[in-house]
C-alpha cells in the first residue's frame, strides 16, 4: 500500500488580475511581428498621412512658415480645408492602411496554434476561450488603434488647441466620428481576420483568403449594384459598408454608390456576429469528431 505524506504543496502564492491576463498574448505576438523589418517599415509608413495632416494643421496656424513656401491661408484652405472631410479622408486612408496591416498580422494569430495543437496549452489553464480570443484580438486592437484613432484624435485636439475659441465643441462630430468610426472598423476587421485565421491552418492561405474575401465581396456587391441598379448590393462589401458608416458619423452626404447608413450598421453587426460564430466553432481545445 502506498503511503502518501502530503508533503507536496500546490502553488498558493499571489496571482495577477484576471481581467488583464489576456494582455499576456499580445506581448509575445509583438515580439514576433516586430522582428520583421518589412512590418516595421510598413508601420512607419502608416504614420505618413498623420504627419502630412500635422504639417497642414501647423501651416494653417503659422503664417511665416506658409509664406516661406509661397502659400496663403486662403490658398491652403482651398486645397486642404480643415473640415469634416479633411478628417474623414484621414480616417479613410488610415482605415485602408489598417486593412493592409491586418493582412500582415492577422493570419498569424490563431492558425499557428491550431496547426501545432497549441490550444489545449492555453485552455487547460485558468484562461477561457473568450480570453484567448480577446488576447489574440488585442494584438490587432492595439496596433490598429495606434494608426487610426490615436493619431487622429491627436490631430483633432491639436487643431482644437491651435484654433481655440470653442472649435472642439463646435466640431464635436469630427472627434466623435473619428473615434467611433475607428473602433467600429477595428473591431470588424479584427474579428474578420481572426475568423479567417481560425479556419485556415496555413498563414499564407489565410492571408490570401482574407484579401480575396475582401475583394471578391466588393466585386460581388458591385455586380449586384450594376445588374439590379441598387446600392443595397454593396452591403456585402465591407469597404463600402464602413465607408457609408463613416460618412454618417462625420455628418457627410452619402455617395450614390453606397448602401444606406442604417443598413450598413446592421451589415457590420451581422458580419461581427458571423465572425464570432465562426470563432466559437473553431476555438476549442479539441476538434469534435462527427
Amino acid at each position: 500500500m502506498a503511503v502518501y505524506e502530503r508533503s507536496y504543496g500546490r502553488y498558493t502564492g499571489p496571482l495577477t488580475a484576471e481581467r488583464t491576463r489576456f494582455l499576456i498574448l499580445p506581448r509575445y505576438a509583438y515580439e514576433v511581428v516586430l522582428k520583421s523589418k518589412l512590418f516595421v517599415g510598413f508601420l512607419a509608413l502608416c504614420y505618413a498621412p498623420t504627419l502630412f495632416g500635422l504639417l497642414i494643421i501647423y501651416l494653417y496656424h503659422n503664417l511665416s512658415a506658409l509664406q516661406l513656401i509661397g502659400l496663403t491661408p486662403e490658398k491652403l484652405n482651398e486645397v486642404f480645408p480643415i473640415s469634416n472631410e479633411f478628417f474623414f479622408v484621414g480616417l479613410w486612408i488610415q482605415g485602408l492602411l489598417g486593412f493592409f496591416l491586418v493582412l500582415f498580422v492577422g493570419p498569424a494569430l490563431i492558425s499557428p496554434d491550431l496547426r501545432n495543437n497549441g490550444l489545449p496549452l492555453y485552455l487547460s489553464r485558468p484562461f477561457s476561450r473568450s480570453e484567448y480570443v480577446l488576447g489574440k484580438m488585442s494584438v490587432l486592437l492595439i496596433l490598429l488603434s495606434a494608426i487610426t484613432w490615436v493619431p487622429g484624435m491627436l490631430l483633432y485636439f491639436l487643431q482644437g488647441y491651435l484654433e481655440g475659441a470653442g472649435w472642439l465643441a463646435k466640431n464635436w462630430r469630427i472627434g466623435f466620428g473619428f473615434f467611433v468610426g475607428s473602433w467600429v472598423w477595428i473591431v470588424y476587421l479584427s474579428l474578420f481576420a481572426l475568423a479567417v485565421s481560425a479556419w485556415m491552418k496555413w498563414k499564407p492561405v489565410a492571408r490570401i483568403t482574407l484579401a480575396l474575401l475582401f475583394l471578391v465581396l466588393m466585386g460581388f456587391g458591385a455586380t449586384i449594384k450594376n445588374v439590379l441598379d441598387t446600392p443595397w448590393g454593396m452591403l456585402v462589401s465591407s469597404w463600402h459598408v464602413i465607408d457609408a458608416v463613416w460618412m454618417s458619423l462625420f455628418g457627410l452626404a452619402p455617395g450614390t454608390d453606397l448602401p444606406p447608413a442604417g443598413l450598413s450598421w446592421v451589415a457590420l453587426a451581422g458580419g461581427c456576429l458571423v465572425f464570432l460564430w465562426l470563432l466559437s466553432r473553431r476555438i476549442r481545445a479539441y476538434e469534435v469528431v462527427r
Partner: protein, 324 residues
C-alpha cells in the same frame, strides 16, 4: 470491480467520475464511466480509440460530459477558473509556439496561468531543473530532440505546482535514462500526495509505475484498481499462473494438483519447472509452502507469470480469454 472507490480517501481528495458518458455526435467517446481515483500514480491503459484521451480531456475540463458529472478534488469540471488552479495537463501533441526557447515556453504559460513576474522566473527554473533541462533552457524548443520535448512538456505541466497532474503518453520518445528519471519524478510527486494520472501504450511501464490502473476498451472501463486486486478478481475466469522452478517438478506437480483450486499443473518445456494454474492464488501459496516443507523440495524460483498489466490487458481486451 471498484477497487479505487473502496479506498479510504475523502472525495475532496479524489478525481470522481459519476456515470459519465461522452458522445461526439453519434461517435462514442466514453460510456457510463464511474471512477474514484485517489492520490498516487494511476495508469490509463487501452488500445487506440479506447477513450483514454477523451477521459483525460473530461478530467481537465477541456470537454464537458454528455451525461454524468465529474469532480476533481471536489471541484466540478464545469468551473474551469477554479479547476485549472489545481490541474496540470500535458497533451500527447507537441504544441509549441514557434520561436520560443524552453524557458520562454514555460514562462509564457505561467504568465497565462496568472503568476506574477517574480514568481514566474522562480517557478520556471524550478520546473526546468526538475526535468533536467537547465542546460537547454535557452535553446529553441524547435531544435529539441523528442525526449527533450517530452520533458519540457512535462515541465510546463508541473510548473504551476498543480495538485493533479494529467499526462497523455508522457514516456513516449524518452531514452531509457530519461525514462528512469521521469518515472522517479512521478514517484516523488505521487509520494508527496499528488495525483499523477498517465496514459500509456507501454504496458510494462504502466505496471512498473502505477499504484492503480484503469483499463479501457471501446469507451468502457473494463477494469480498475491495483493490478493485484484486478487480477485477483479475475481468478475464477482466468486462473492465476505460477511458474515454480524446483528440484523435483514431477512430484510438485502431482502434489499441488490434488488441491481443488488448482486447475492445471504441468511440467514446463524446460523440464525443470512446473506451471500451475489456480483459482485461488493465496491458498495455493500456503499450500506450496507446505508441499515444499513436507517433501523437502529445493525451490529456485516462484514466479507469477500473469499478475501484471500485460496479462490483465490480454485477458480483458486483446484475447478475451486467451492465455498471455
Amino acid at each position: 470491480m471498484n477497487a479505487l472507490a473502496g479506498a479510504q480517501t475523502p472525495s475532496d481528495r479524489r478525481v470522481v467520475f459519476e456515470n459519465v458518458s461522452k458522445f461526439y455526435g453519434e461517435v462514442l467517446g466514453v460510456n457510463r464511466v464511474s471512477l474514484s481515483i485517489p492520490p498516487g500514480i494511476t495508469g490509463l491503459v487501452g488500445p487506440n480509440g479506447s477513450g483514454k484521451t477523451t477521459l483525460m480531456n473530461l478530467m481537465v475540463g477541456l470537454l464537458q460530459p454528455s451525461r454524468g458529472s465529474i469532480s476533481v478534488l471536489g471541484i466540478p469540471t464545469d468551473r474551469p477558473e477554479e479547476l485549472f488552479r489545481h490541474v496540470g495537463y500535458a497533451t500527447q501533441y507537441d504544441g509549441y509556439p514557434p520561436g520560443f526557447t524552453g524557458y520562454q515556453f514555460i514562462a509564457s504559460y505561467l504568465r497565462v496561468h496568472g503568476m506574477p513576474a517574480g514568481e514566474v522566473e522562480t517557478l520556471t527554473w524550478k520546473a526546468i531543473e526538475r526535468v533536467g533541462l537547465t542546460e537547454a533552457a535557452g535553446r529553441k524548443v524547435a531544435g529539441y530532440s523528442k525526449g527533450m520535448r517530452q520533458r519540457i512538456k512535462l515541465a510546463q505541466a508541473i510548473a504551476a505546482q498543480p495538485s493533479v497532474l494529467v499526462l497523455d503518453e508522457p514516456l513516449n520518445g524518452l531514452d531509457p535514462m530519461a525514462r528512469a528519471e521521469v518515472i522517479a519524478l512521478f514517484r516523488e510527486l505521487a509520494a508527496g500526495g499528488l495525483h499523477v494520472i498517465v496514459s500509456s501504450h507501454i504496458l510494462h511501464e504502466v505496471d512498473l509505475i502505477s499504484d492503480q490502473v484503469v483499463l479501457l476498451n471501446g469507451g468502457y472501463v473494463v477494469a480498475e484498481g491495483a493490478i493485484s486486486g484486478v487480477r485477483d478478481e479475475m481468478e475464477e475466469e482466468h486462473p492465476a499462473q505460477v511458474l515454480i522452478r524446483c528440484s523435483r517438478p514431477s512430484l510438485l506437480a502431482s502434489r499441488v494438483f490434488e488441491q481443488d483450486s488448482v486447475v492445471e499443473a504441468r511440467i514446463h518445456d524446460d523440464g525443470k519447472s512446473v506451471l500451475v494454474r489456480t483459482r485461488d492464488a493465496d491458498r495455493f501459496f500456503l499450500l506450496l509452502n507446505q508441499v515444499v516443507l513436507d517433501n523437502d523440495l529445493g525451490v529456485e524460483a516462484v514466479m507469477p507469470t500473469d499478475d501484471n498489466v500485460h496479462a490483465v490487458y490480454q485477458y480483458l481486451i486483446v484475447g478475451n480469454g486467451e492465455k498471455p
